[in-house]
């Protein structure tokens, strides 16, 4: 009897589910935007925001949440998407990857959100990815990351590793005449992959890697590696240390008598945004270079407006880093794609996405590549005592995203 009841509920669920899957593509009329099976009414559309509010990652993800809320508010002030105001359901991933997967599923299955803006670490994205692929959701992922991924259900609004790294190393080699590199990172996938790409590229340029080193996440004692740097005398220390370790590293670097502004060696990071400097202290990090696509100090008009709006909404002392800006792009890119598709339907939005461009992006101009990453420029900035970067270089062209770089794997 038990099994009868169970199999009947099972069947019911299966039926309902497959029905919704089969029926969804059948609705083709643009006027029927409400009947995609998603949480869309005559005047609202619901999206999800999925970041860590608690746990160790909350530090990093707060900025992204703020940026996404700002973008949603601005879009609503402009009249919304397809005449519908965006409402958002925010879930806490709690810095815990299964929780991310669980909440992603809740957003897609229970709340039927039209898109999700979220995740920060690669681990959380890897955890939610199967969920998004299974339930055909759309994720806008803001963080610069290691690449090696290209999902039809994700739009990567941050840079993949090659975009960020190659330009930075070329710049150091050409402008600063760097010959010897020291690679230093936190011990996990992004720094390791990044350094692999960096090492290959350095080899290709005929230059030399004199050291490569990883420390556990959260490590706070860097005196040994600082000594090694002193001994090996590299021209460039290429850094992908993340989180709280950064603070310890730069403070100890300075205390060890290394003046970063003298550029002997030159410190080039791909992981310290303005957000991190807030914790490190501008005076401790003055003179290091960062290679990324966005700095708060970018001098264009789009950015000035964005920075002003952001500060109006979240307070004047707040700073905006690369990821925060990338998170801000998410809702706008989604809006543009929805409007191009004339529907909230995920398949249609996906189809419409490649080629979507944003001329109002704070970073200037971005366009979605058919591999779901963004064409974007890379900038080099030098850190100032006030915690901001001064832009010293900008790639002349948009750089093509290449998540599976040949010869770098």
């Amino acid at each position: 009897m038990l099994s009868n009841i169970l199999s009947s509920t099972l069947k019911k669920t299966m039926l309902a589910l497959s029905a919704s899957l089969i029926l969804a593509p059948a609705v083709t009329q643009a006027a029927d935007v409400n009947s995609t099976g998603l949480a869309v009414t005559d005047d609202t559309v619901t999206v999800g925001i999925l970041h860590s509010i608690t746990g160790t990652m909350a530090i990093s993800e707060t900025g992204s949440v703020q940026a996404e809320k700002l973008a949603i508010k601005q879009i609503n002030d402009m009249g919304g998407v397809l005449g519908r105001k965006i409402e958002y359901i925010q879930e806490d991933g709690a810095s815990d990857w299964p929780t991310f997967a669980e909440k992603a599923k809740k957003l897609l299955v229970n709340d039927k959100v039209a898109a999700v803006f979220g995740c920060w670490t690669s681990a959380s994205r890897k955890a939610v990815l199967p969920v998004f692929e299974q339930y055909n959701g759309m994720l806008y992922y803001p963080t610069f990351y290691e690449g090696l991924e290209q999902s039809p259900n994700v739009i990567y609004t941050g840079q993949e590793a090659t975009q960020q790294i190659l330009e930075g190393i070329d710049w150091a080699a050409e402008t600063k005449g760097a010959k010897k590199f020291y690679l230093l990172g936190s011990d996990y996938i992004w720094p390791r992959t990044s350094n692999k790409i960096a090492r290959k590229h350095i080899d290709k340029l005929g230059l030399k890697v004199v050291g490569e080193e990883y420390y556990p996440l959260g490590h706070t004692q860097f005196n040994s590696v600082i000594n090694k740097i002193k001994l090996k005398k590299p021209d460039v220390v290429f850094i992908s240390v993340v989180g709280g370790s950064n603070v310890a590293f730069y403070k100890q670097l300075k205390a060890a008598g290394i003046d970063m502004t003298k550029e002997k060696p030159l410190f080039l990071t791909i992981s310290v945004t303005e957000d991190e400097i807030l914790g490190i202290g501008g005076e401790n990090i003055e003179g290091i270079y960062a290679s990324m696509k966005y700095f708060q100090s970018l001098p264009n008009e789009n950015n000035k407006e964005f920075v002003k709006a952001f500060k109006d909404m979240w307070g004047k002392d707040i700073v905006i880093g690369d990821v925060t800006q990338a998170a801000y792009l998410g809702p706008w890119l989604w809006k543009a794609a929805v409007e191009a598709a004339g529907s909230f339907d995920v398949d249609k939005v996906r189809e419409a996405s490649p080629g979507i461009e944003l001329t109002t992006a704070p970073e200037g101009y971005v366009r979605i590549h058919k591999n779901h990453h963004l064409w974007s420029k890379t900038r080099i900035g030098v850190a100032q005592t006030d915690g901001q970067y001064k832009v010293v270089y900008e790639s002349p062209e948009l750089i093509e995203p290449d998540p599976f770089p040949e010869g770098y794997q």
């Binding site: 038990l2 709690a94 299964p98 890897k126 990815l129 011990d187």
Partner: protein, 379 residues
């Protein structure tokens, strides 16, 4: 005579197991959609760990802060098998070395490491899920208990082991998938584990395994070994001078708890679809202790209810008041330890059970009252 030959499963305990089985295998599936049910399935996989902790900590007095290690080892064994199955040469054609897991390819591995090879076999995997963690637990516990290390020291050393293993897994990402863990698991012997139907089946499988482990735990608890554990916790020297090699019993119960945890880990991997080092570390290990403490460290049933309640609260609270959740969890820790050291089960035996039995008595007052022994109150 009531102290005469008794079954390992007194009527009251049989009722409790039946009640639990009905709850998780009938009530939950009927009242929840598959999304919620899958969540419950995930919680139940933690319940294996809590169950092991009841025997090991509640009965044996051995507090391990490293149960995540065994949960993780079990989970990783399962994940390795599933990952290999997902990494067919066809599915991984774009890699430089097709046929090996994607993260290995990213880390320039060109061949499958030797210790991955046997995980092509399901029967080896099933054996490894139990054997690998148990061997590991055996080594730790022999080293510690034969030298009479216990209590706080044992807790701290197991905690350090959890930390070491986490750093190792994260650092050796070419072999372990690093901090991302082993993700994107798809099929088990060709059967897609991601469909709703599969989720139902895996949920029921998890329930059956849990009830199986519950029977094992009940048997151990009611055997002389169970009484010996209580005796050891109380007066270890007395047991030793009654002619028992005390360390062997501790080793046994620690290994048994490790085996339960490992089964839980494997169930977790199957239901959640991935495994990552975040379940190996210190924080999850301590959380699992609190599941057990909330349920009642002396109650195998309490442990399961405790796990369900805490996780349910975690999910609910963190959905509605994410900022308050840690306050709540922290207060729960302190409250349980200070005010209700016997947890939910303690509340049940002091408040509900007496009333319940009164109610039963009045219900069938014609029958003579059942004899009860004091030991049974500890269930």
């Amino acid at each position: 005579m009531s102290y005469g030959m008794r079954s390992f499963l007194p009527k009251s305990d049989a009722m409790k197991i039946l009640l639990l089985a009905v709850l998780i295998m009938v009530v939950f599936p009927l009242s929840m959609d598959i999304f919620r049910l899958n969540l419950v399935g995930k919680y139940l996989s933690y319940a294996f760990v809590a169950l092991g902790l009841v025997l090991c900590w509640g009965y044996g007095g051995i507090l391990s802060l490293g149960q995540g290690v065994f949960f993780g080892l079990g989970g990783y064994c399962m994940a390795m098998f599933l990952k290999l199955e997902a990494s067919t040469p066809e599915a991984t054609a774009i890699q430089s070395t097709p046929g090996i897991p994607d993260f290995m390819d990213w880390n320039q591995l060109t061949a499958l490491p030797w210790f991955w090879e046997p995980f092509h076999s399901l029967s080896f995997t099933v054996a490894a899920i139990i054997i690998v963690p148990v061997i590991f637990a055996f080594i730790i516990s022999v080293a510690m208990f034969k030298r009479r290390v216990g209590g706080v020291y044992f807790a701290i050393i197991t905690q350090a082991i959890a930390a070491i293993l986490t750093i190792l897994i994260i650092g050796q990402q070419g072999y372990t998938g690093g901090v991302n863990g082993i993700t994107d698991l798809r099929t088990l012997k060709g059967w897609d584990i991601r469909t709703d139907e599969a989720k139902y089946i895996l949920y029921f499988f998890c329930c059956i395994m849990l009830i199986g482990c519950l029977f094992v735990a009940q048997y151990v608890r009611k055997s002389k070994l169970g009484r010996l554990l209580v005796a050891m916790r109380d007066k270890e020297d007395r047991v030793r001078f009654s002619g028992y090699d005390v360390s062997n019993f501790k080793i046994f119960v620690f290994c048994l708890a490790a085996a339960f945890s490992a089964i839980g880990g494997a169930m977790f991997t199957l239901q959640v679809g991935f495994m990552s080092p975040t379940f190996v570390g210190i924080v999850p290990s301590i959380e699992m202790v609190i599941f057990c403490a909330v349920g009642g460290r002396l109650s195998i049933f309490g442990a399961i209810y405790g796990t369900l309640v805490v996780n349910w609260a975690k999910t609910t609270f963190s959905e509605s008041f994410p900022e308050l959740w840690l306050f709540g969890l922290g207060a729960l820790f302190i409250g349980v330890v200070l005010a209700f050291p016997q947890g939910l089960a303690g509340l049940y035996t002091t408040w509900i059970e007496p009333r319940l039995s009164q109610w039963f008595k009045s219900l069938r007052s014609a029958r003579p009252p059942m004899p009860s022994t004091t030991a049974d109150s500890r269930s």
